[in-house]
Symmetry: T
């Protein structure tokens, strides 16, 4: 079977791959949580938030692909299976059932703050080891921060 | 808090909602499994299967939205959270790590056969209760069967 | 003058044509009521509802064409003239003048519930007589139910 | 409840609003009559006229929106409900049932001549009161006259 | 050599596959007959009918693909070779040479009536055996009936 | 150096050029104020107003170009520099810092009422001197009035 | 043979039709002169002017169609034949052969000044008789003045 | 002043340039005659022929550009001025005024036959001298012949 | 009934028409054979060949239209009916049933070699009689040769 | 009132926000200066520079939005009002009136050199404090440097 | 290893393949020289020539692909490696460093004249051997001659 | 002659320019090698690799432009002439003639590993001197690594 090799090795590779796997779980679960809220949302601000949650899903899906494919390009196998996501996610999980708009805004704001915080940690962690991966996290952090502001602004 | 009501009630509603929730888990996990294989694939047929798995992901994502939104329109809250998917999925899970192309084709073929089988059960289960939901399952089954053939054909 | 003939005749044709003519009036008046609310809307949720009412108008216009053309294809002349719509519509009519956003949401929710109910009756009524027409009603019911949910969710 | 105010007041406003409401009814009923003919048309020129009637519907729908929204911008509530259209329309109504192509051409030509005539009256009526509204009627008159020629030319 | 298996077996599969093979021949030959008329047409209505025949060809080509691929997805090999089409087609064949527009309209109207009739038989034949295939025939029948009306209307 | 000449001269030219320069300042500052509010907005209606302010910016940018280029075509040099805009603008300036959604709606409504009023003065001022420039102001007034209504409606 | 009638008659119609026929000849010959210069141009500014002349041709072609069709809609037959254009054109004709870029700019500037002047005469001539036609000339004058400026600016 | 030189010289160049200039006049006048008929057309087949004449105009305009630019590329100045077209055209000129559809079809058929005939002469004339120019005439002849058939077919 | 005449007559016409009719049958059957293989294909290279066969079908369909319409433009009626294709085709027919990918590649390579060979004969046959038709065959031969290479390359 | 918080605080936040506010003023005034030159430009290179200045405006507008929204996402309110821009801009202001092309090129080249210099200072200033904001300045600097080269190259 | 065979053999094949390899080197090096000038250009006509050189690059890249793939389709392996291009190119090479616009125009004009001359030799060389390849050279020569004129015209 | 100056000088400029020139040669030759393999490829995986090589060519062409233009923006003249590329390329050159698919995959994988390695050296080399250029290399490295993985995966 073909083995994939990439430009890194040793500790540098381990550090970067760990950061990428963490980001992958963050982003897959962000896409699932955003969809869950997109479907279960109620309240007078329904339409605005319903649409914005789909933009968030699209953004999470696009970045999860970039992150996983960077992991592969470094020669390490990413793990995005549902069991892995469920057991390693650090996102606050919404309750089952309908969720009022104000609560969705508050919850997503908090979730995005957490994802942002971890992305900055990953930016720092990968600075020495791999500026290419770091650049991906910088781009993702910018998008997450922007979403964080926009959810926050409508509280 | 607003409550959502729809055209069904009683047993009919319970039957249909249960089928929709089952389909939702099938489709979310199908999208995750297809992505997992898309990233971890190796072998001389890499490019063809890599691209086809993305078509499968797109298809699963489009149908999961329709299914969840039908569930909402019937007045029942769908559950697409990672923990729910992980514990209730009926899809065979891929091993962690690289997967050879032949194994991907075989695994995805089997997974699609399982999803197809459950969709036909849902078509039968909802025939009396809700022809609108049944029509969604019919459309999904057609797409799943087509994908099943195309993976099968390249074994 | 050319006469149009189609695949049905007798009672089957009468049943189906009556259902189609009823649906045609529902959909034309739905497009007019949605536009009326689109123009006369006031309130802090103006923009979201203004835009959603245009989506509803587009949906009603697309389906009215399909319904009328199915009627013609069965060899019966559809009647979509304003006098016919005005006198046979079963939609609750909005008062003249400005309408507050909350009231628009409530009114449109009720109207959509009524249209949905009649579509399910038409689905049942045409099941034996013409599965092709029934399939059109199934598609329309799915769209109406989805709109019904989305208006309902923002009450 | 919010009240809408605009740049006009007094007689000027009354004159302009009356012209806009008249144009709104003309354009809504023109869209309904064009669709009625689009569906009920028979004759060897079917396809050409069927397509042209859809262009006429699109044109009427686009202008009705502009006219109603100008009315709102002036602070007056437009009325485009089916009952209002049915009782105040000045368009010649087609008979129920199939209509031969030559008759459609003749009828639509006459209807367009009537709409054009009223648009010129509105152009004159609003010249002093509101050049902005007048400019809308000028644009509509140009389109109506063009359609009038094209239907007339194929008699 | 890979063998293709699908969700049906036994009599159900035989019934459905036979209906699909019949529809495939109908649709391939419809595309050839429409092109033949598209090229050999003469008469003052040339342009309208020439264009409409191309729409008919496009429609036949799109549906033939869906029908053949459903057949494959059920595990049966479709046969769309010219010899098979020529010997099993049930469409009335146009004479060789130029065809006047009125005759084209009459002939295509008759051909479409025949195809429609057989599609309704296939809808009935597959109802029990395979609602997914039945749904394809329902969609095709709707399109064929619409074309039938439009050719008929211009007689 | 080339000098630009146009169709007007003398008083007519002076009148028209003055009106165009006034409109240019109105429109440039409208684009800046709309962006300022777009960025500094907070409140539960954030998303709807955030998006609408961008439509307002686009509209102001498109019209500023037309107005400046008409000025040039008449042989007079337009002045759209920041110092000129800052010292001659007649738009109410927002305070520095975050602005709540209700306040944004009220402020923009007032600003648009002022711009509209000045556009009608320019329509009157240029009627004799240059119907071409007047027609530009008529078009702009229609758009400004429409935006004015839509902000007003959501108070 | 069908005769075309329109909203005007008597002197009003004669005045307007004469203006339209004059504009038609101006615009057809403008399109021919612009193409002639587009092909025969030489000089270091070749590319910029070559492209701008094509924009001028497109503009002249679009407006000639509107002008001729307004003439028809008024019930008068427009004349755009080459002999009519050649003998009634008032545009300065370029010499045969290569033309240097500076000369093209100067010539086109002069031609556009002449067309503009005649369009303003037509705006005045049709003000009373037909505000709809006047509005077409206003639009054309704006475009011609803009082109005039841009050619003038690069002298 | 720059002089343009190209790949040909002497008799070859003269022969080819003469053929190109002839084709240029044919194509410019074809575009004018097609527009003249497009505007002055009356009769029950109005719409079909009106649209087809615009396709013919587009085709003539596209080819006139290619022909003139080939002439320039050979170092010879093309002449497309209205006076040149008017005095050297070999196209049958339509009478002034309305033209019935049947007559338009007959006239355009004859005109296209003439243009086609001259294009074949140009194909033969340029075969030795310049296969590149010959290839342009071959492409034009194919398009002209196709238009000739389609007008002819609807007589 | 209208008769179609074109630029050729006598032997030249007969030669060219015969070549066109031969090419028409080649291309129609090529489109049917490519679809047959597209549907019945199995093997590990399924996806690549499945997609390439659809490109081949599109290419055959586009060229068959050009060839048939050239035949008509020459005044001769083309024959593309299924019986004609079936009895006069010179393409090797695939067996009924599933076809392995290697066999498809080999068969299609041979078929394309045959079509290419006949196209070169047609290029030679029409050189004197009709350079316009010859140019069509040259274009088709280039496309067929390219497909031939690409199928051949993957043996 | 909602307060916006972001990932930074203390000195880091102050440093980054100051850099963003400086960049915002640079970019807004760059968009105004570019438009001023776009309108007031004269000279033989008019068209090339006129178009390039619009590309510069688009670029400045796109980056000003990114910069202001990053400022907001960090929890600080950006200030883009005309008075702020006018008093804090560091761009060399063009004189009032027509500007010759050579002077425009020289002035814009100098302005871009200044903006570039300040962007590099901001890249250095934010390196420690916020790599996400630094990355925005890096992207902007690349675009500004490219524009600087292209204006410089045409001096 | 698969061997590629095509429709030619013997001397014909040798002649044609040699011409294709020569054209391939011409076109690859033309794309490189055009890019080199695109980057190193200075002078007041910078923008016009910079853009035109990119059109030339696109044209060269499109034709190089067609030429190389025709070579392959004839069963001969094309050689487009940098060393082959460098040692066999017949294009005049630009000096290293900045190039003034006038010099770029003169150099590219000369280069295009040379490429054109060789394309005509290839047209003659392949006339007997392969009309399909000849037709490719005819198309390329037309494009090269057009570019040659346009560069020449701006000297 | 204009001289181009940029934001860097001295050693920093030398370091960065050298890195950019090295990357330019890498990317130009990568585009040529990818095309060479695209054309000379044989083997059962032909289509997948043929298409992927074109994606690689597009990617190399896009990045070569960015790299060369950054070099110019820094005031240094890039050298992309064929002789320069041929003598300074560090890419492994393919043999002349047909290349089997497995060998292409292995060769391109090795070439991409080499390009990637040199890009990381350039990322390190430019970190101090120019973060803007470094960012370009980071982006290119990400794309090259992704291609490297995808070719590697199909060995």
């Amino acid at each position: 079977m073909a083995t994939i090799t990439g430009p890194l090795s040793g500790d540098a590779k381990n550090t970067v791959v760990e950061a990428l796997q963490g980001a992958l779980v963050d982003l897959i679960d962000l896409s699932l949580v955003a969809k869950q809220a997109h479907w279960n949302l109620v309240g007078s601000h329904f339409r605005a938030i319903h649409l914005q949650l789909d933009e968030l899903t699209d953004l999470a899906r696009a970045h999860m692909d970039t992150v996983a494919e960077r992991c592969v390009a470094l020669g390490s196998s990413p793990d995005g299976r549902s069991a892995t996501v469920a057991k390693s996610t650090r996102l606050q999980q919404p309750e089952h059932g309908w969720i009022e708009d104000g609560k969705v805004v508050a919850t997503v704001t908090d979730i995005l703050a957490g994802v942002s915080k971890r992305m900055y940690e990953r930016i720092r962690a990968t600075e020495e080891a791999d500026p290419v991966t770091q650049d991906l996290f910088i781009t993702i952090a910018q998008d997450i921060d922007k979403q964080h502001w926009m959810f926050q602004a409508q509280r």
